[in-house]
Symmetry: C2
Subunit: 352 residues, 2 copies
């Protein structure tokens, strides 16, 4: 049982930011529609001219031109995108982890025996110093209690309610509005050119599937994520249902990304997008195939408009955001494209 | 580890028919193309008029008519099909099991220590009486040895070679030609009406994905099947690859079918097709959703043109083919449609 992985948890991010969470206002706002149509002849209007934009344009050009030796038949046009930090904001905390913490009171109301048991007692106390000391094992117990033990429909209903009311602490907007406009344009542009776009996320597959169509134009069946087992059973009235179990089938991080892509898609992607070491193996595996391949990394180097972070943040000798220097070196050596949010993106969010 | 499940093995079928296998001729024949276009206005030309054909037509009519209260939005149009016995011939033995037995000599050539070890020694001996006595555990060892321990590309290459050369003992044709023409028409008809067609098979996902596009018009990413784990690693030259591991992630039979559909698709199907008790939970789960639902069972009652079999075969008081009487009763009670191969199908195979 390792449900923590199914939420793509980075413990440091969780603990260092628990104290930053404000009380969540309960205002309903609509989830934003998919990126608007791009102007004719300019499929990537939110991108500045530069190597990153050109890499996307070149890849689509050669892979869709039947006269080009790098032509890719339509059925092989698969593109995979990490979500957190690649398609939407992952700071100060993965939204799914916020969801789990917010769910604790409801879980305890149904299971009163947890009220005075740790780590639930600490979460309920709101004591931020104590929250910041929660162990990895504590977090696992919180995830198991809040993400499993209910039917798949109950989970969807609760998570959807939360998505409609929760607000990001910095922008005071639903998490589903904090998607990167330039990446929505890439998704649309690839689809317009026959690519099937997939999410390959360390986050929970069932969680992301709830909003993937509305937010990214990606149907639930094209979301690959960390996934737990379900258990088929019958209600008292004889009606069958599926219960979410605390047993991890796929930890869709690192090596789990290519393994999950093989399990769920069965083809090697032609294009892959990530932003951290957890995406490394997916990009390597994508790049190891023959023919046209696009490997891109989003670099979080824009503290003013979004965030600048990663192991190297604040260290003046490396400026690689969430990428370790080793991965950044690999990217340059193997011809991966690095997207600088600061320099390559005119606009970050659809609402700007 | 339960790789046997990943081949949808029915031990009785395997053992009772081991002796029937002829030596396989090595003639290459093309895999047949997808069903030809149906004549205008007659989408199911290989079906006789009757309740089964009408059930398909009615389902498509009401679910695609926006004025109908049973209208299904295009994004929810998911149809799942069992493979063995529903889309193609499963007698005298699942083709994938034949594949595994045929692979034993090549595996032993690479791993000579198996030559005198059981059950490989017995398989190599060709002693049919001894073969028929193999235990379930023996069969598991054969499947593990022949389906795992190689890269996903090596597996595909070997299985494709076999599919091109192996012949069914009765028709002396490639297994991939022994698909049911009326079901190809249903697949096509549903797709023409906006349905995404999926295979949900107890057979190995990696095996079926090799030919699903060519044979059924179903891309590999729309094949849900019994699936083993893979392991990401690096070759000596640094190139990453995935190795097939003998660890079962999904046993896509019985309760595993709805569980696998949730994992791989994330939506409840609107239509489901099966032929045996292994499909029961998939059909129940499909039928338990609201709105238009189609649940169909193929009844193998045509000994002349295909086979008549199942627990009830030869018992004159029940004629339910591979269906147990209990499931047949459930089908009638809950409004499932039973397809009689003998009465409902004008033609069985595309080559007829």
């Amino acid at each position: 049982m390792d449900p923590i992985a199914s939420s793509g948890i980075n413990r440091r991010v969780v603990l260092s930011t628990l104290a930053m969470l404000p009380a969540l206002p309960a205002l309903l706002r609509p989830i934003p529609a998919e990126a608007q149509e791009a102007p004719a002849g300019n499929p990537l209007p939110s991108w500045n001219d530069g190597a990153a934009k050109q890499a996307v344009l070149d890849f689509v050009r050669v892979s869709t031109d039947q006269a080009n030796q790098s032509y890719v038949p339509p059925e092989e046009r698969i593109a995979t995108f990490d979500q957190d930090g690649t398609l939407w904001v992952e700071h100060p905390m993965y939204s799914q982890v916020v969801y789990c913490l917010d769910r604790v009171p409801a879980v305890v109301a149904k299971r009163p025996e947890l009220k005075n048991a740790e780590p639930f007692k600490t979460v309920l106390s709101g004591n931020r110093a104590a929250l910041a000391k929660l162990s990895m094992r504590d977090l696992e117990r919180i995830l198991a209690a809040t993400l499993t033990g209910m039917s798949v429909e109950e989970f969807s209903t609760e998570a959807m309610k939360w998505l409609e009311t929760a607000r990001h602490p910095r922008w005071q907007r639903p998490y589903t509005e904090l998607v990167y406009q330039p990446m929505l344009e890439v998704l649309r542009y690839l689809r317009d050119n026959g690519y099937k776009t997939y999410i390959a996320t360390g986050g929970g597959q069932d969680f992301v599937r709830i909003y993937s169509q509305q937010v990214y134009g990606i149907p639930p069946e094209q979301v690959v994520g960390s996934a737990g087992a379900t258990k088929f059973g019958y209600a008292k009235n004889g009606k069958p249902f599926l219960t979410k179990e605390p047993r991890l089938l796929l930890n869709d991080n690192n090596a789990g990304k290519p393994e999950g892509i093989h399990l769920m898609i069965g083809r090697r992607p032609r294009a892959a997008f990530g932003n951290s070491n957890g995406d490394r193996e997916m990009l390597e595996w994508t790049g190891a195939g023959a023919g046209a391949r696009l490997k891109m990394l989003v670099l979080h180097d824009d503290a003013a408009r979004e965030y600048a972070y990663g192991p190297a943040a604040g260290l003046p000798d490396t400026k690689v955001g969430a990428l370790t220097p080793a991965l950044y070196d690999e990217a340059r050596k193997d011809g991966w494209s690095v997207i600088s949010m600061k320099n390559d993106w005119k606009r970050i969010f659809p609402f700007e």
